[in-house]
Point group: C2
Chain length 264, copies 2
């Protein structure tokens, strides 16, 4: 048993989709979350900059005495997961491998679409991971640079969102039977994405898949939190405005939250 | 990527229920299996003897250059999993934690039954693991010493099996809503067990749960087998008669098998 919290990092609010899944699947685990909204989106930045920002988030979480770190951000996972995992002596989990595995299991026709930030798509990491396991699978990559700003500005239910998603995804419609939401912000746009792609396309939420993996790793490393531990006190940190963060987070998580500002 | 096989150990043929799940979920992974049928059942033996036998099985698998070892045996997991996991530098997975977690998720009324061998029940390990995570859960333990011999003697579909299962489980009927098959041999008796307990009781197959965890750990440690690797060649070893082993294994796995005798 290990009653310390699990640390989540993201470029902004997207990782809340992973945190929500974790709270649903493992309601007795405590969360410390850091979202770097002040510097979001990470997607268009250089690998060097993303690596450096990610280490700042990791080091912040380490000061909070976390027992595990979840990269609830595809871009950070693509750039820095392997390096951080190797350096730390606590488990470090990324969202890409769980998402890639789930997509391979889901596809029937072997044609998988991947949506991601410019950096995630440029890294071509989903193709790399999926084809290493399943070489015959065809990948259609699509960068969606406008999606994260829509979510971070709390416009993910707007008519603008519908228009942007429709225009962005049009080239993919009818081409794949499985679509990886390869950015943790995108599940907030899920109803619109599903509508544009059609009800028969299976959407893979990399964050939800990752939450199931967290449960397995907590078991494997024997670091579950005891249900007799102190009452839960999730804490959320943002590098930008706590008020803006709280608005999205309370909508998404349907609970009152403690959100604190932090400067890295 | 790591194209080496996954090693499975069991006191006999029970671990085949885990191997079958693995083949279904991860058809591209290769298996080396060792069943100690000559010394089955392990359940009534002393902890010291079980520990010693388990190490013999582990050392045998290590000579087969495995990348991971699965304790496809609850009794061996109860006695020696933590010790072996600590000593080896490859991942070692047991069946108890995956089964315990699944049972906690499945129960609605907080009353979980656990079937196991005398040693597994005596160790009280399911109660220990389940209540550490969920203290309010009530556990009804039941040792089923006659079940493994029924399976090892290929009598698991007989009218004798129906009689034995009925008489053994009678004290549990109506008392729990979830029942852990806390021995990998028991899924071969599943239809009879379900029939005796009633269709509303959720049966937890610790081996099937474990197979899902294997997939997560292969991802986490980045040791999946490439689908471009050499054709699969599963190998099964038994310390008793290969013919008797093959009969059960081919019935259960519905495939032709290479079964070799080995002396430990």
């Amino acid at each position: 048993m290990d009653n310390r919290p699990i640390g989540f990092l993201d470029s902004g609010v997207g990782g809340l989709t992973v945190a929500r899944e974790l709270m649903r699947q493992l309601p007795h685990e405590e969360i410390v979350y850091i979202g770097d909204s002040a510097r979001a989106p990470y997607g268009p930045r250089s690998a060097e900059q993303i690596r450096s920002f990610t280490w700042e988030l990791v080091n912040f979480l380490l000061t909070k005495n976390v027992k595990m770190i979840v990269f609830a951000c595809n871009t950070a996972t693509a750039v820095a997961w392997e390096e951080v995992k190797e350096k730390l002596d606590i488990p470090v989990l990324g969202v890409i491998l769980p998402g890639a595995s789930a997509a391979i299991k889901a596809t029937r026709n072997g044609k998988i679409g991947v949506l991601g930030t410019p950096m995630t798509i440029q890294s071509d990491i989903y193709r790399h991971k999926i084809q290493a396991l399943s070489p015959e699978t065809e990948i259609e990559n699509l960068a969606c640079p406008k999606f994260v700003p829509l979510v971070e500005s709390n416009n993910y239910k707007s008519s603008l969102a519908k228009k942007v998603v429709y225009e962005t995804l049009r080239p993919l419609v009818g081409k794949v039977d499985t679509l990886v939401l390869g950015c943790t912000h995108y599940p907030l746009l899920r109803p619109i994405i599903q509508n544009v792609m059609g009800q028969n396309v299976k959407l893979i939420d990399s964050g939800a898949e990752c939450a199931r993996d967290i449960s397995v790793l907590l078991n494997y490393f024997e670091i579950n939190r005891s249900r007799t531990a102190e009452p839960l006190k999730h804490t959320f940190y943002t590098t930008a405005s706590p008020m803006a963060f709280r608005e999205i987070a309370e909508d998404w998580l349907a609970m009152d939250l403690i959100v604190e500002h932090v400067t890295l």
